[in-house]
Symmetry: C2
Subunit: 134 residues, 2 copies
DNA sequence: CTAAACAGGACATAATTGGTCTTTTAGTGA
DNA sequence: TCACTAAAAGACCAATTATGTCCTGTTTAG
């Protein structure tokens, strides 16, 4: 339970590698993929998702590639994980009050809220700077 | 991410219902299933898993059914969830030291350990007594 | 014996995961 | 402008997992 998928694992490996490179050095997707041992086509999808929300910046054409969208200490593990795995939701009824039709009976509800908060809290406190060992 | 499956949700609903019944009252699976709105055949599988590890006790034959295996305050939400969903493991490399081949490079590792510990901690503090409103 | 009730395995179907492949778009340099 | 390079985007596909159903036991009370 609560397991990160491969996509999430690859995402972290990829962006941490990028964070560890010299600032503003444009990295080829192919280089990142082989460095962190992830299928390039799959990593491409992941970096597209990063790019859309600004976690990385992409450059096309010759000399193109990827750089980090912000300084490593401004990107949290929570952002990275949620970018590819979606929001951290331990149980559907955590989504909103109205959704859980048995919410008044449901004493489990606050427990999941608590889990969600705590996990988000832990992940939000870790930045790419920490992970890249900078 | 980190989402409980239906199986886990059903498991909780089912056993919480059982915990709310008068002590030592033998409950029919069919009654539990209809009360908590879960397909009976599916719930049967779940209760089999509970039975194997003693969370519930089953009686076969006429007049058979299920009772809680222990007093509700002695059964934690963690046990219930792990019984059907397996252990709480946010990332594969949390399983063991040797498994994560990049463990020396892997600064993410301690974060997952921390997540795992915290989640288990929260779930272990909630019992069926709390959930059943006893 | 018979009907009630759980046990356990085989099977079915749909969704999700984990990819690949192809085409398009954008930028570089000759 | 032309050729080349590299990411973007979307179609496609295989394997796995989730979510059940069904059928055949086996146990037990009466």
């Amino acid at each position: 339970m609560m397991e990160l998928t491969r996509k999430g694992e690859y995402a972290i490996r990829g962006i941490v590698f990028l964070a560890a490179q010299p600032t503003d050095q444009i990295c080829l997707l192919s280089d990142i993929a082989s460095a962190v041992d992830v299928p390039q086509t799959f990593l491409a999808k992941i970096f597209q998702q990063f790019s859309k929300i600004g976690l990385v910046r992409s450059y096309r054409g010759t000399g193109g590639g990827f750089v980090l969208g912000r300084p490593p200490e401004k990107i949290t593990l929570l952002e990275v994980v949620e970018a590819v795995e979606g929001p951290i939701i331990p149980n559907r009824c955590v989504i909103g009050e109205g959704i859980c039709s048995r919410s008044n009976l449901c004493n489990v509800h606050p427990v999941w809220i608590s889990v969600q908060d705590k996990v988000r809290d832990i992940l939000a406190k870790v930045t790419l700077k920490d992970l890249a060992g900078l």
